[in-house]
């Protein structure tokens, strides 16, 4: 137990240490003019931009978070439904999968105008765009977990007279959890990117909007400041999903 605590502390310290070293190197590179600060502002300049600008950070953070989380929830729900459908029926898989892959391989900037024309320039269109980046990993990951089960467990339940729905509930669903949480970690980062890109294309608030407006006015410090906050949000959301996964699967964490 004590060893585990020491190991955890050592791991945390090494992560923090590498971060500090990275930031110091970055600062030195800019301070010594190796890279000019108008291209890459120093960490101190970025922090200063966060506190000195008149930007309402909370409003922008809330707007981006709302879109990212709503898109993530919508994409995950859609992904789960599709995963169950493609696992349950070979016909559905053959019909639906090409469309799912087609949506995934199309660049978001190509889909965005269609969504905006269909739904309008509003929150819903941005949430739909965000969900498109979330649902694909959920479909693929969950479908793999639902299908890739120990066949002996299926035999065992069948020999006891279990129905397909009971086998789904008792075997396939819990078996898919590790795959699902890997997918959700990819989906939450996809949702964050999706929200930002949606704001690039059409929005008057949010970190993506802030980054575009700051960039067009050559306010490089503010662009990086928004990017830094976005990174922190992305890491926190990723950590949250990972934490939920660990709490839901104690049997997997002990591996």
């Amino acid at each position: 137990m004590q060893n585990k605590v020491v190991r955890n502390l050592r791991d945390q310290a090494s992560v923090l240490g590498s971060l500090v070293v990275g930031v110091v190197v970055w600062q030195v590179i800019v301070d010594y003019g190796i890279i000019p600060s108008f291209l890459l502002p120093a960490p101190t300049e970025i922090v200063a931009a966060i506190f000195s600008s008149r930007v309402n950070w909370w409003a922008n953070i809330f707007a981006t978070l709302r879109e990212a989380i709503a898109g993530f929830v919508l994409g995950t729900a859609l992904g789960l439904l599709l995963a169950v459908a493609v696992t349950a029926s070979g016909i559905v898989r053959k019909i639906v999968m090409p469309y799912i892959v087609a949506i995934q391989v199309l660049p978001m900037v190509a889909i965005a105008p269609i969504i905006y024309i269909l739904v309008g320039f509003n929150d819903l269109s941005r949430i739909i765009l965000t969900s498109l980046l979330s649902f694909f990993p959920v479909v693929v990951g969950t479908a793999t977990g639902l299908a890739d089960v120990d066949v002996n467990l299926v035999y065992l339940l069948k020999s006891l007279g279990a129905s397909e729905s009971l086998i789904f509930y008792k075997v396939r669903l819990p078996n898919s959890l590790p795959h699902l949480f890997v997918s959700l970690r990819i989906a939450i980062t996809g949702a964050t990117v999706g929200a930002i890109v949606a704001e690039f294309v059409s929005s008057n608030i949010g970190l993506g909007f802030l980054m575009t407006t700051a960039l067009t006015s050559f306010n490089i410090d503010l662009t990086y400041a928004a990017g830094f906050i976005l990174t922190v949000i992305g890491l926190l959301l990723y950590g949250l999903v990972e934490g939920v996964g660990r709490a839901s699967m104690p049997w997997f964490r002990r591996r």
Partner: protein
């Protein structure tokens, strides 16, 4: 003693991925008597596991018939697989309890502590399979197969992949549990010693398509200890099985090492 399972001229074929029809077993007939342990021994791919799946009712025969009767109530099997096949998301207790959940047997949980004690896993009830050794996982699989008082216990190479020492211990424990609970069982194995050690009757199967080529009645005490494997009466049975499997003649190898004795 009554027959619990009767197979009459059963054959089973599968369609392979290539589209080719593969005959797994051909014209297999035998009866399983109550409280007897029947062992099926034969080379890999001779359809031993297929026979178990047919008895369990998870597959249907291509031809022939299978009759199942329970000594009491509904016919239900207990199933042990070669790699334990535990649910990794369930604790030891949850895994053992599973058949009762499927069968809707409420209140039967009271039996679990007794079974946990019988398989020497007291104190590990809350452990997950990943936290157990291979031998402990096999014990949990045995308890899961027994918890619902099955009519017949099906054992599909239950100790494959276990080291020799652990295997002997597990075999002895399993034999003790089966005999103590007066179970009827069918064990599939490619281990000739195991077939004799655990069985009352050994059915020797040919290479695929599997057919019964010999039936040997094992006249040994019900409760067996590893020392019995060194006795002449035991080796007589194993020799007879090897004979039927053509293992006592020089093997026709396609290529011998150049320095091998002629």
């Amino acid at each position: 003693m009554a027959d619990l399972v009767s197979l009459k001229d059963v054959s089973k074929s599968y369609t392979a991925i290539t589209g080719e029809v593969v005959e797994a077993i051909r014209g297999v007939s035998f009866d399983m008597h109550e409280r007897e342990v029947l062992t099926l021994v034969g080379p890999s791919g001779c359809g031993k596991s297929t026979i178990l799946r047919l008895i369990a009712g998870v597959e249907k025969p291509s031809s022939g018939s299978i009759e199942r009767r329970a000594a009491e109530g509904k016919f239900v099997v207990g199933y042990i697989f070669q790699d334990s096949s535990l649910m990794r998301w369930r604790t030891v207790y949850g895994n053992i309890k599973l058949p009762m959940e499927i069968l809707g047997k409420k209140g039967a949980e009271a039996k679990i502590p007794e079974l946990v004690k019988l398989i020497n896993l007291e104190g590990f009830e809350k452990a997950y399979p990943i936290e157990l050794s291979g031998g402990m996982q096999r014990r949990v699989a045995v308890a899961r197969a027994l918890v619902h008082d099955p009519s017949v216990l099906l054992m599909d190479e239950p100790f494959t992949g276990v080291d020799e020492i652990t295997k002997e211990i597990l075999q002895t424990e399993l034999n003790f549990v089966i005999r103590s609970l007066k179970m009827t069982g069918v064990l599939v194995t490619h281990d000739i010693e195991e077939a004799v050690y655990l069985g009352d009757r050994v059915l020797v199967l040919s290479a695929h398509p599997g057919r019964i080529v010999e039936e040997i009645t094992v006249d040994l005490p019900e409760i067996r200890e590893p020392v019995i494997k060194t006795e002449e009466r035991f080796t007589r049975y194993t020799k007879e099985i090897r004979e039927k499997l053509n293992l006592l003649h020089p093997l026709r190898l396609s290529r011998r090492p150049t320095d091998a004795p002629a």
